[in-house]
Amino acid sequence: MTAELEVKYPVEPLKCWAKVKELREKYYIDYLTAHERGGIRWSGGGASIDAIPAGLGRDVYSLTGEPYGAGIGFDKKFAAKCHAATEEAGYPRDLCAYMRNYWGSVLLNEFAFGGPFPEPDFYWQFHGCCSHAKWYQEAARIGGNKKPVVTIDGTSGLYYKKNEDTGEFYADLPKDGIRYVVDQLHESIEKLEKITGRTFRDELLFEAAENHFENVTLWSKICMLNQTIPAPLDEKSMFSLYVLSVLSKISGEYVEFYRELLDEVRDRVDRGIAALATERKRIMSDIQPPWGFLKMFRYLESYGCVSIGSMYSMGLMGIWKIEEDGTLVPRPTPKELGIEIKDRDQCLELLVDFMFSNFWFHNMHEHTLKGYIIQKIYEQWHCDGVMIHYNRGCEGLSLNVAENRLHLIKQGIPVVSYEGNMGDEREFDLAETEGRIDSFMESLGLK
């Protein structure tokens, strides 16, 4: 690792930084205090179609499990308590680390932000992976108060297919799969009305859906700007910025935030403001990082290497379209395409289509798209290498990770892999990982 590097670019802190922290804090406080205002609380996955509960009123608040589990992972002390609690209760260590952190918090009856665990009024979950299917069923059982669990089966068929002639992937709408999910959503609305005693309001659903489309498209537009050299954003900061949509995709406040952020990042690009003053090389990562050890991204920077994003940070809550020539572009919102939402069924179809076009849903069933998308990001974002996390904490997103690595190596792309766990620090070795980064940086010509 080098001691002094040439400062090549001006840097400035992000003006939106305080705002994103404030919004994140407000999210948890709103959930915590919802009952004081006569509101409703639900909990479920970040991939849940949250526009549906939004139709129950403007005072409906969520606690999404993945960012909550990741937040616990960041707090190593509390995470250790959660792991101990889940293991004592008999859950094995190889289950989803976010899920174990969440269950640990329920078992301990401790909320990561203080006080007892705030049980939701119902659970609302979308089954995207093997853990999703049991997460809230089990949380409801542990909670002990028989809170209702409403789930949607996300089995839809593959959204993307490969053109064997060109080697490019293209969207091929699984219409029957979308209808299967839409029909479940119709039924679930009736269930939620019974559970809450409220009447579902379509105008709130439409508003939430429009916000959903805009939030995820805005994030893609922001990520596009990171193709610039020097990169205006580094991935460690992007982790804090993208997360709002995982908390809630339907928030109008978040739409406003992402619009401001888009303007700010455009301004940084126009003025040549870098995330890293010493940017010499650019790499990308692949999936969730070990949240308790984000300093490894700063370690990269000590070499003058910036991580510009990943399929995860750019794609989990960013929505993309693959052009015919394989170029990735932000997927336009229905409004941008001149589509007006007129009825419930049409709205649900659009929501499900948007959700399924997310690369991650495809990745839960088939792995070659992931290698392809990583390669596309590597090329379009002008990367010099890829850092791959053998994430022992997520079976879904690390599906076929070794095959992805092999695909990239065959394309001549430099790759370093490291072992870890997004939410369980016991499976991550910082010194070992830094050692691998040292070797990788040297192989890229950095000292």
């Binding site: 070794a402 690595r405 092999l406 190596i409 065959k410 430099p414 790759v415 370093v416 892999s417 072992e419 070795d429 070992e432 050692g435 691998r436 040292d438 070797s439 040297e442 192989s443 000292k447």
Partner: protein, 258 residues
């Protein structure tokens, strides 16, 4: 121009001194509790044997797990880089190297100049490195040399299921109590370790020639198991434990010429 490479490994320190393109001297010693004192002692001994003093050395590069703890080195470099440079200097046809040390194992693929193309490192566990065999030899109450010889006389292999050095030791103790032939137990340990090394190595797109270096390369029993599992021939170069130190010394010369 005289340069030195110092490979500070988990178990031993290797020093190699080059004058222009020729090896002047090399030396190795065990790492003691006082790390810096151990390094200094082995370096001084190597210098003295070569009739040199510290001031005669133009540039020193350290490598290995303890590379950052050599206060008199001008620079340091990783073992991945130094292994590649070292083996290309010694065996120019080699494009893939497997280095099995006491605590680490790695596989590196590189071009004709020693520029690294891809590498893989053993998982954070000693079960794929020399310390694993040492632990098993202790469990069998034989020396490493005896362990290696016994392995070569084995008639069969018994699967060792444990993925962890600690659990594998329990398994070996159980086999001893079951009065399993000692030769076969030794072979089984080597086969288990070879399996892990081959699995790691095959993450790379293997390119010939292949070389095996590091202290474990001297274990004939282990090399026999590795050859059977890898199903490919490989070179074990002279001074296989010194390849990292050699690469560091060569790199030091390259740094001087920049």
């Amino acid at each position: 121009m005289i340069t030195a490479g110092i490979d500070v490994g988990a178990k031993s320190v290797k020093v190699l001194i080059i004058k222009d393109h020729d090896i002047m001297n090399k030396g190795m010693g065990f790492m003691e509790m006082d790390r810096e004192r151990s390094i200094q002692k082995i370096f001084d001994k190597c210098l003295a044997e070569a009739g040199l003093s510290k001031n005669d050395i133009d540039y020193i590069i350290s490598t290995g797990a303890g590379r950052k703890f050599v206060p008199f080195a001008q620079s340091n470099s990783t073992m991945v880089t130094c292994d590649a440079i070292g083996i290309v200097k010694l065996e120019p046809s080699v494009r893939t190297l497997i280095d099995i040390g006491a605590n680490d194992a790695r596989a590196v693929r590189f071009d004709e100049t020693g520029k690294v193309i891809d590498f893989a490192v053993n998982e954070k566990c000693a079960a794929g490195a020399g310390a694993f065999v040492e632990a098993m030899a202790r469990a069998m109450e034989v020396s490493l040399e005896e362990f290696s010889e016994l392995s070569l006389k084995a008639e069969k292999t018994i699967p060792i299921n444990a993925q962890c050095a600690i659990f594998a030791e329990s398994e070996v103790v159980s086999l001893v109590h079951e009065e399993t032939a000692r030769n076969d137990i030794c072979r089984s340990v080597h086969d288990a370790m070879a399996g892990r090394i081959v699995s790691m190595t095959k993450r790379l797109l293997l390119e010939k020639d292949i070389a095996v270096v590091g202290g474990v390369a001297l274990n004939k029993g282990m090399m026999d198991s590795l050859k059977k599992d890898l199903k490919m021939d490989f070179i074990i170069p002279k001074d296989a434990e010194y390849i990292g130190a050699l690469g560091a010394a060569v790199l030091a010369g390259q740094e001087m010429n920049k």
